[in-house]
């Protein structure tokens, strides 16, 4: 029951169960199965609301449940003992899970995120006890290094190396920061983890703090995630009550506490140096490195900053050993990665897969293929810093190096599927709009260069492309990449570059022929009516906001091209496919 689950009616379904069960005098353990979409970490958000019923150790999972269905489930299943088969999850629910391997998400969806004991019952905080009881700081860092864990925020920096650098830095004060400023549009892994299992992140942070020798931690979290903030706050309070946080943790003479800092809506604050300035209460503008944050970070003190998912991995690595973790994934990318699978895909949701899995298996075996059985065109990975991987490259193994070689990146883990109705020029323009407005303005090439890139793309999508535009885009992109200070500017041209690299035909069609093959770029479209299909029902006349359609009842209508504002309302409303566009 997370942001999406509540939107889908998770609370209403739960209330219905509560009141109706009470009315029948049955005591049952109704658990708030965590996170995202009530099932969050089981991940199949597309089938919300999902409900689990466990009766005599046999679990049945129902999909698309609404409050009015609750009575029948109680009557037939809980009282009668026979599950309502027609509402139970179908084949693809199991398919969705078969190819996944869950570490970070293993307890999400099973435990109650609002109850620390629910986490403790499945082994939570055992890793912390093990570390404080039996391991030195060096030994702990060594386990993390040997596990091969790399930063899950996108850049993939080895976590053990970072911890070691911070441990070795000499200072009277060190900080540890959890970056939960998940700004990439199309990514929601961090939100799901915090909503589903906040204690795993807290435990990872405490272990990190012990390793590097820090007594103060911050979670920098987006204000756009109110439920995650609330759950985190609750979890911190409970952890303090259980003496996992505060003074003299578990009687081991180790002090550590965590504060929440709310982001104020700036994408660039996901960059680590900008994030630290933001915590200090300043404008979040990246600075030159070196010095690295591990030497002089927050308030110029050695600071270790990791992503939510990175911290959430830590307790599981400690509990199961470095070798166990390193046995999953590829040679250079160990373990698993959580992805947010969205866009034009059947089973959208949250997934966790071993590194190195072919992208095709994610799309077809886990994701169930493309919505409405359309053709896949591309997969956008890595958000505004990443790029589009074309359909013929779907066999690429998903790991840090392979994706970077294709011009995309693992990034924070957003995976947006595009079908033939998506225009790749429009997508590139979309990301440029994003980076252009989110550029902090410090570096001129990023501030003005992205603006110029955007202007060129806007021109192209409005049918005013000129010969030489593509070369101009390439030139400008190369300049912005080399002359920007931080990752935002360095990667801002990536969406354009992959569009040019893999979809040059489509771009050229816009520039040269003034056509949008996918039918997205409005100004390049022309709407017309197939006279032989038009029944003269008048639906389009009523839908047209500009009065551009005329015609008598039961006779073919016409569109006045000059009056048409190309909004597409007629196209959507026509039941006879009589409206054409090109």
């Amino acid at each position: 029951m997370g942001t999406g689950g509540l939107a889908a009616g998770g609370q209403e379904v739960m209330n219905a169960f509560k009141t109706q069960l009470k009315g029948k005098g049955i005591t049952a353990d109704i658990r708030k199965n965590c996170s995202l979409h009530k099932v969050g970490c089981r991940g199949l958000c597309a089938k919300d609301v999902l409900v689990d019923i466990t009766l005599r150790n046999v679990k049945t999972t129902y999909q698309f449940i609404s409050p009015d269905m609750v009575a029948r489930i109680i009557e037939e299943h809980i009282i009668g003992g026979t599950p309502v088969q027609e509402w139970a999850v179908s084949e693809d629910y199991h398919q969705f899970h078969d190819k996944q391997f869950k570490i970070v998400l293993s307890d999400c969806g099973l435990i109650d995120p609002e109850d620390i004991h629910s986490y403790i019952n499945v082994g939570g905080y055992d890793a912390l006890k093990q570390v404080l009881d039996t391991m030195s700081r060096e030994e702990t860092i060594d386990v993390i290094r040997k596990s091969g864990l790399r930063g899950r925020g996108g850049a993939g920096f080895p976590t053990g190396t970072k911890w070691d650098a911070c441990f070795k830095a000499v200072s009277d004060q060190k900080y540890i920061i959890c970056n939960a400023d998940e700004g990439d549009p199309g990514a929601f892994m961090d939100r799901a983890i915090i909503e589903g299992n906040p204690h795993s992140v807290i435990e990872g942070m405490i272990i990190g703090a012990y390793s590097i020798g820090s007594d103060k931690g911050y979670v920098y979290i987006r204000a756009e995630y109110p439920l995650a903030v609330e759950r985190l706050r609750m979890a911190l309070t409970q952890a303090r009550e259980e003496k996992f946080l505060g003074r003299n943790i578990l009687g081991k003479n180790f002090d550590f506490d965590i504060k929440i800092k709310l982001g104020a809506g700036a994408f660039v604050c996901g960059e680590s140096t900008a994030l630290m300035f933001s915590i200090e209460g300043k404008r979040g503008m990246p600075r030159v490195t070196p010095p690295r944050s591990t030497e002089a970070g927050l308030w110029k003190k050695p600071t270790c900053l990791n992503n939510v998912e990175t911290f959430a991995n830590v307790p599981y690595i400690i509990r199961n050993s470095a070798e166990w973790y390193a046995s999953y994934g590829t040679e250079k990318s160990k373990g698993t990665k959580v992805f947010a699978l969205t866009g034009k895909i059947k089973n959208s949701g949250l997934i966790e897969v071993p590194m190195g899995i072919p992208l095709r298996e994610i799309i077809y075996d886990i994701g169930g293929g493309i919505e409405n059985n359309k053709k896949i065109k591309a997969v956008q990975m890595g958000g505004p810093s990443g790029g589009c991987i074309p359909a013929d490259k779907l066999d690429v193994p998903v790991d840090f190096e392979s994706l970077t070689a294709l011009g995309a990146m693992v990034g924070s883990g957003g995976l947006v599927v595009m079908d033939e109705d998506s225009c790749m020029v429009d997508v590139a323009k979309y990301f440029l709009q994003f980076t252009q407005s989110e550029s902090c303005g410090k570096c001129t090439p990023c501030r003005i260069g992205t603006k110029r890139l955007l202007e060129i793309l806007e021109r192209i999508t409005q049918g005013e492309g000129r010969a030489g535009d593509i070369d101009l885009l390439l030139d400008l992109s190369a300049d912005i990449k080399v002359s920007s200070l931080c990752g935002l500017g360095q990667s801002a041209p990536n969406p354009i570059l992959t569009t040019i690299r893999y979809f040059r035909d489509e771009l050229e069609a816009h520039v040269r022929d003034k056509k949008c093959p996918a039918g997205v770029c409005r100004k390049l479209l022309a709407y017309f009516i197939y006279a032989e299909r038009c029944k003269g029902c008048g639906a389009c006349i009523r839908a047209c906001p500009s009065g551009a359609i005329t015609g008598k009842k039961k006779q073919p209508h016409q569109i006045d091209a000059d009056a048409c504002i190309k909004c597409g309302s007629c196209f959507t409303v026509c039941k006879f496919k009589a409206i054409g566009r090109e």
């Binding site: 990439d184 549009p185 809506g265 994003f434 909004c567 597409g568």
Partner: protein
């Protein structure tokens, strides 16, 4: 106003706050950042007002003008974009009759705004109406929601 500002100021001093948290407090108290509030605190703290405004305009969360009674936020994340959020936004602005560059209606009933991503991508396109997340939104559905809010206003 002064009384609430005094309270915000005291909290700031006692809790080693910073300008961002100060501004967040001002906004949650007044619904936006009033110029007078900044000037008052600027004098009191001996921090130039420009520093406050520098931060206010840097972060998308802060608003320098009062906002509408109802806030409708359209998500512009990637998933929402490929699923047609643009159309929702065009429809929303048209329904509220908002001129270019304006985000709040003249009668202060509605504010329409965009957000980068709320992370509810699997139910895209998403619109948030007064803090409640609505998934799989359509242009017609959105207009219906607006009508509901208008009716409520008339009843009240």
């Amino acid at each position: 106003m002064e009384k609430s500002l005094e309270k915000i100021y005291t909290y700031y001093v006692n809790n080693e706050g910073n300008i961002i948290s100060l501004l967040q407090d001002i906004q949650s108290e007044f619904g936006y950042i009033p110029e007078d509030a900044v000037n008052w605190l600027s004098k009191r703290l001996e921090i130039p007002a420009s520093r406050f405004f520098g931060i206010t305009t840097f972060y998308a969360q802060f608003h320098l003008a009062p906002r509408g009674k109802n806030v409708i936020t359209a998500c512009c994340g990637t998933a929402c974009h490929v699923k047609g959020s643009e159309k929702l936004i065009t429809g929303l602005l048209k329904e509220l009759d908002l001129p270019e560059g304006e985000s709040t209606t003249a009668d202060k009933q509605f504010t329409a705004e965009k957000v980068n991503c709320v992370g509810a991508c699997s139910i895209a396109p998403v619109v948030i109406i007064n803090d409640k997340v609505h998934g799989k939104m359509t242009a017609d559905g959105l207009i219906k929601e607006i009508l509901k809010l208008r009716e409520k206003e008339i009843e009240a």
